[in-house]
Symmetry: D2
Subunit: 341 residues, 4 copies
């Protein structure tokens, strides 16, 4: 931590700050400059709360050097984490994972048809929402536990592990019984109690970035899970909120290489929620792969025009098959390029 | 809902859209223009999901006219809602409510001292956090139920109703036992399960705006609570996330008159979290009152330099007393102005 | 400047950074911590370009302590600047300035009527746009020099100094001939050539904040003007761009007390452009005054329903008179409060 | 345009709105709904200014259907525009254009060395800044006309057309004499006078997206240029401003396929300014190509550690050569995929 004093701060103010640092059990190291004094804080082993210092007289600014996460950082843990989901491995050195399926589980027919479609096209994890977070209470809210059962049944039928969103602690027992991966949605990225609870479990977790979360907050949220003992965390970029309204959100692809350098956890991309526009899903899926994503999560519905949720961003079967073929081609191209390098 | 067709959309595409609207049980009314056709959708009694229409061939854009909320809108419910908290009334025509107290409950001494300070200065609801949402897992997380008891005890001692944050459904029993108002924090504004649960209770709810929530989403979140039967909802603006980093968040005061015109629910302002800077709290408190806020929520600590949480934005006793005196003066000035108008 | 090294940075990398700092003619002061080394940079007299250091091997982050402005900072220049516009003084200790008038100058009749309206209500500077920046080329672009003449004529008639926007260097001669204050619009806040040119003149300048400008960038833009010799700069907050679409922009009132503490220049608020909604203008005007604004800039049109530009956010005569009366009452209330304190 | 009335709007208010529409020379078509009336506005041939209608009594909202641009829209002009720069063609069906070179022109040696580096690697347009927009006045501001001459000389030497930024109208003569493409920077995207002037010239224009510009505003800015007669406009995405601070800006790659569907103008991507981080430039360059960009603009310096501007985001020669080789491989892969489709 670096404490920057005002140009006009006097000796007494500087002394008071030094004392406050010592009261925290840390060392204070003044760095006199030509225009002002700064005070380096040494001895801390992690993030320091600056509450008792920030507003002392003469203090202009407090600058944090340590981050609010450590267990998930590559700086302290250089080796990549590979998350195992059934027989599927997600992370560095693994083929990209393809999670696909409908936004929400609507019926046995729909779930089964959609599962066959994504399986045939080559996806390896099946998605489907049983508990749906909707902006307003008057929209379809999901089938609940009945949906979980349909998802499990469809996954078993086609031989794919399944991922679904858990919205609250009380649902964890049910979701753990039927699902292989627990998804924490963007709106719950800072539902810290939920994060802690999934941290105590052994199920892999898919953690989506909050719609206005910084990368630092995203990694700090993952830290909550890992700190409880569960390091099987897959991060997921799903678009952030900006002033632009032509797309549902703004897909932030730079986060992929950045997170890969800052953390050892795998990161995938959800182009469906990020753009909200079906026509953009294939092209942004390919861009995400090239940006280094460890996989994708794509909404597929066997009949999008009849979907109860997010039909406008869902691919149908043929569209998804075409995308998978293109991704395969792109992937083999990227790999041959890497080998020749 | 208005469906705008592409300039070059043909008859067949227009027919297909009309059919899709009819399949939803609604009427389709084409509005031919000089450059393109638009199709008005009639007959809906609320928000319409556009999923099955947005991506039909020839459709350029779907524009929503209905909002995802209705019960909380002043358009359909012109009379103001006054929320009752113990003997305190919050809303149109009532004196502004002053909620004050420490960010987090730390000890009996701290809670009691802070309660006396805010009581003496004239606050009428006591706040204090027992369950704390913190960005990283390595920060102080609150005293939990022990904190709730200390809060209740302090409130009883000084004779004030108390408000505290509930972070998950499992905490509701405890929080309802000890608190008079249930606070839903910004990070949980779209924790829809939690919203539904508090909607089934009779306790008043203080709903904070999410840090990147639009006004429409804010009101839709309140709709979740009211739709379950609990209309005792107080809205709270606490700053939104923008590109500006000089303040913790950006206080959006325009939301106060806007929400007052759009909804019958009362709205208060939290200048402490909005700015994150102690020196800005008094001035922005006064600005909020002038903007029409039905009250304020202010962080006060009897000894901010020792606070475990948010000390840098907390007022101490004398500062809060001075603010209360200034607010009183401002308030009587505003009222005399109103009377003379 | 503080250079933060990676946890795993080695001696050689640290030496390379120290050498790079010395090559810039500055001192490097290593601060070894328990988890990583940081290197303080000393000896600079202002902002340091970090380009040659930021990406050296082993460097995690470069943190700036100096700001890209100095002449406009209160830290180095504590005494408030009072800007003189004809007989009107703007700044600390002065009565709030009221700039009012139509968005764009449309005709002699409109300009004269509007001037009378604002004069009678008590405004002291007349505004009117002759050169209009419009999002699309198919909207009304202003009357140009003919408009300037009408503005001057109206100002002379009612005895008020006038302010108008200058959009490019080539217009400066004309605008200086007819106007008392040169307005730099939000879209030109970083038109650095224009800033430098007005910096060489003696006319006071009204500098509007860019719609996505940080406070630091805002003050750095003012620094461009002052660095050329013209310290007669009035800053103006006019709303920033956020995700919220219910208002035209988001009025950021915290910027008023913040800029007052960071800079010695006066700052006013434009609630008309900030909100874009007529009904919000009076209430946000009052909130701005309470937040400490040195004045306001308000759009007034004698017949808003016929305005060629921004009619929806313009007050008419009676509305503006009422606002002025309310502001006067508020102001005397604030002053009596201050005196009694 | 669609005018949405309040739920409680009465007959008289509806009549008044209809009259106001007729006064604008347009037709008003009421669309009675079950909960409110909307009024369709017909007969307009382009964007309609809503100023006189938006705030009439009973009006809740005005929704625009027409866009503030038309000449640049693909809706009205389906055929792609291919921009010619010397022998280089930019647009649909052309090989991607590679613009590369230093941020700012610093010396003959630097410009010549950098030109050779990018030429050898396979770039086809040379970039270099002679007039530099810098946030603060105390940073290097560029060599001006001397820089232009060095750029021209280097371009001639290696046989490449050159692109450079023009910041004001007064520079146009000089820039046109020495440069082949006129770059309008992000800060000047809404410098409408400058847009109009370059619209009167025959030089191709590279228009960068403003840092908080919506896609609609971006296209409306291009409309300014095309409306004056110059349709040789290349759009450029260079990152937008969001709350994220880990990157200089947030690269918005979805804008590429969106603009390609909305407009017939070519669009390229500048990953250097978008990310501000050298290590991200290659990976985001490749992602941009896959997203469908018609080309790239990349900062290359023969010795970035000594660059006077943006060294931290500049590639050196070997890095750029490697990137070009990877892009070539990627491109041939994409093309063979397209051919086999």
């Amino acid at each position: 931590m670096l404490i920057v004093m005002h140009h006009s701060a006097n000796e007494q103010e500087i002394e008071q700050v030094k004392q406050a640092v010592k009261d925290m059990g840390l060392q204070a190291e003044p760095i006199p400059g030509s225009e002002r004094t700064a005070i380096g804080v040494l001895g801390n082993r992690g993030y320091v709360d600056d509450a008792t210092i920030r507003n002392l007289p003469g203090v202009r600014e407090v600058i944090h050097v340590s981050k609010p996460y450590k267990l998930v950082s590559r700086d302290f843990h250089p080796q990549a984490t590979v998350v195992k989901v059934g027989g599927v491995a997600v992370g560095d050195g693994q083929p990209p994972v393809m999670m696909a399926g409908p936004c929400s589980i609507e019926s046995e027919l729909q779930m089964m048809e959609s599962a066959k479609v994504v399986k045939q096209a080559g996806a390896n994890i099946l998605r489907g929402g049983a508990f749906k977070p909707r902006t307003g209470p008057h929209s379809f809210q999901g089938l609940g536990v009945d949906g979980l059962k349909l998802l499990r049944q469809a996954g078993d039928e086609v031989g794919m592990p399944v991922v679904t969103e858990v919205m609250r602690i009380g649902q964890l027992d049910d979701v753990c019984r039927y699902a292989d991966v627990l998804q924490i949605g963007a709106r719950n990225m800072q539902n810290f109690d939920l994060l802690k609870e999934v941290g105590k479990l052994s199920h892999p977790v898919l953690l989506k970035r909050g719609m206005s979360a910084t990368i630092e907050e995203f990694l700090a949220a993952a830290e909550y899970i890992v700190a409880e003992g569960n390091d099987q965390v897959i991060l997921c970029e799903r678009g952030i909120r900006t002033f632009e309204k032509a797309t549902r959100n703004t897909l932030d692809l730079s986060v992929v290489p950045l997170v890969r350098s800052m953390s050892h956890l795998p990161i995938i991309v959800d182009p469906s929620h990020a753009t909200g526009i079906r026509d953009l899903v294939p092209v942004m899926s390919k861009a995400a792969m090239v940006a280094g994503a460890h996989g994708l999560m794509v909404e597929v519905h066997h009949d999008p025009a009849k979907a109860l949720c997010d039909g406008a961003q869902s691919l149908n079967g043929p569209e998804f098959s075409r995308l998978m073929a293109e991704l395969q081609q792109l992937q083999s191209c990227l790999m041959s390029a890497e080998n020749s390098a």
